[in-house]
């Protein structure tokens, strides 16, 4: 009887202990299930609030000028800028790299094929010149063969320069397009940066952007690009006569171009990068300090208030980054065509130089020199594109320091 009583007590104690342990377990760990469920609801609510804020801010953004510019371009007409920005923000915009590479290679191939008639003319003229030169020691006088060589050189030069003019026009057109894009995109980015509270960043970037759009582009269009064209022209005229050479003048212009490119890239790029990063850090600290003050000074409400401000800041920054990304895509589309055209042209010149070398060394040397010297124009074009790209990238990347 006593044992039965003791067993019952033991069982009772065991049950009580199990109940207490279960209750303790539920108190300690059961509560975590609710916060994670609540967190996902909060996250969804936050996401919805952010989307609503972004939509409101995007609706207020004036993109009329950018839309008009896009409509003026054959490759981008019919595109709605606000729809594209929405796609970028939601991540719906997908880039098919295979398609892009395929289109680029196809373009180079087509341009190469378009240059084939010019290649045939060069080859024919060089062959004729070679045949006549071999007759120089025979029945033709030296002076007559010099005249024939002069005429053949002018003919080859005329054919090459006719093709080159189209390539240079494409390059100049790209430079003016980039200038126009800078005039449209930078005010949008500055406005969005100011709206998100980046006052120090705006103060730093605004004069730098104005300097890029104004003085630097003017330097390139008035000095550097004409120098690059001068180098090409001097490469042509320098081989006309062995008595009048212009190689050193060409070297002089090349050194000016190199110095200017190096100075602009080095000085402007360096200062812009350093100032931009430090300005973004300062704005980030200011915003965090403001959030701390608000959250600390206003009880209970402070967290919501600072969170609401953060939502608008985040919305403005998201739109700013989307505008910046779109500008980068636009830049790539603008620069890619002349870049590929130059590539095709230089390949064409190298091929022509290689093929004509056994027949006539002077024409081959001219074509080879022209292929090398046309690189200065390409370098100037890429320098402008790089500075523009760097500025937009810094404007986009100043985001992270704010939040």
């Amino acid at each position: 009887m006593k044992k039965l009583g003791q067993n019952a007590k033991k069982r009772k104690r065991t049950c009580i202990a199990a109940a207490v342990l279960t209750a303790a377990f539920l108190l300690l760990f059961g509560g975590y299930a609710r916060p994670s469920a609540a967190k996902s609801e909060e996250a969804e609510a936050g996401q919805a609030a952010l989307e609503g804020t972004v939509e409101a801010l995007l609706g207020a953004l004036d993109t009329e000028e950018l839309q008009r510019y896009l409509d003026s371009l054959s490759d981008f007409s019919g595109i709605s800028i606000k729809e594209k920005l929405r796609s970028l923000i939601t991540g719906d915009l997908k880039l098919d790299y295979g398609d892009v590479l395929g289109s680029a290679l196809n373009f180079v191939w087509e341009e190469g094929q378009a240059m084939l008639p010019a290649f045939a003319v060069i080859l024919a003229v060089t062959l004729l010149c070679g045949i006549l030169n071999s007759a120089k020691n025979g029945f033709l006088q030296s002076t007559t063969s010099d005249i024939i060589h002069f005429v053949s050189y002018i003919s080859v030069g005329a054919v090459v320069l006719a093709t080159l003019i189209g390539v240079l026009e494409s390059g100049f057109s790209a430079v003016f397009s980039m200038q126009r894009q800078a005039e449209i995109v930078f005010p949008l980015l500055m406005t969005l940066m100011a709206a998100s509270g980046g006052t120090v960043s705006v103060g730093i970037f605004r004069p730098a952007v104005a300097f890029l759009s104004g003085a630097i582009l003017q330097l390139f269009t008035d000095i550097v690009l004409p120098i690059a064209v001068a180098v090409i022209v001097l490469a042509f005229v320098g081989n006309l006569s062995k008595d009048v050479r212009t190689e050193k003048l060409g070297e002089f212009f090349k050194s000016i171009a190199k110095w200017l490119l190096g100075m602009v890239l080095g000085i402007f790029g360096f200062f812009l990068t350093v100032q931009g990063i430090s300005a973004a850090q300062y704005d980030g600290l200011s915003l965090r300090a403001a959030k701390y003050v608000i959250a600390g000074s206003v009880p209970i409400v402070g967290g919501f208030l600072s969170g609401g401000v953060e939502l608008v800041v985040a919305g403005s920054l998201v739109i700013k980054n989307a505008v910046g990304c779109f500008a980068l895509f636009l830049l790539a589309g603008t620069v890619l065509r002349p870049l590929l055209l130059f590539l095709a042209f230089r390949l064409f010149l190298r091929l022509a130089a290689a093929v004509t070398e056994p027949v006539d060394g002077k024409i081959s040397a001219f074509l080879s020199r022209l292929a090398a010297d046309s690189g200065y124009f390409l370098a100037a074009l890429l320098c402008i594109a790089f500075l523009y790209f760097l500025t937009i990238l810094l404007l986009i990347c100043s985001t992270g320091a704010f939040l």
Binding site: A194, G197, T199, A210, S213, A215, A230, V233, V244, V312
Partner: protein, 151 residues
């Protein structure tokens, strides 16, 4: 710059053409020398003018203007959104109201004030009215994080 390059190219072209048709002998050498001097003069004269003249100025002609109207439009859009949210919030609690939200026109557009004029349908006692107004005011202030005036 373009004019300079065209002048140099033209001078070299003329010099090359003349060198082809030059006679042999002393006359030919004299003409060749004169042509070279001519090309030299064409190359150097503009450079002398550049050295004597002023340095070209690359002034900032471009200006980057911030669209101030964007702040106004954004604040208005956010105010409209806030008003719609508050209207939904009050509707859930069975109230309709005239709502006016005021946001700052400064960056980040923080809310400044919310004014709600409740529309009471039936007859409500004064105490109950005060209780409803104070309750809604407290909820709105807590949720939207700014001062609220509920009448």
């Amino acid at each position: 710059m373009k004019a300079y390059i065209l002048c140099v190219a033209g001078a070299v072209l003329i010099a090359a053409t003349i060198s082809l048709i030059l006679p042999t002998g002393k006359m030919g050498k004299f003409i060749a020398g004169a042509v070279r001097l001519f090309v030299l003069a064409v190359m150097v004269t503009p450079l002398l003018g550049l050295v004597r003249g002023k340095m070209p100025v690359f002034a900032e002609r471009a200006t980057v203007e911030i669209d101030r109207d964007y702040f106004e439009r954004s604040a208005l859009a956010l105010e409209a959104r806030d008003a719609a949210e508050i209207a939904d919030f009050l509707l859930e609690r069975g109230f309709t109201a005239k709502i006016d939200v005021e946001r700052s026109r400064e960056p980040a557009f923080p809310r400044k004030k919310i004014r709600i004029e409740l529309i009471f349908g039936g007859i409500i006692g004064e105490d109950e009215r005060i209780h409803i107004v104070s309750g809604i005011q407290a909820e709105v202030e807590a949720r939207w994080g700014c001062g609220a005036e509920v009448t």
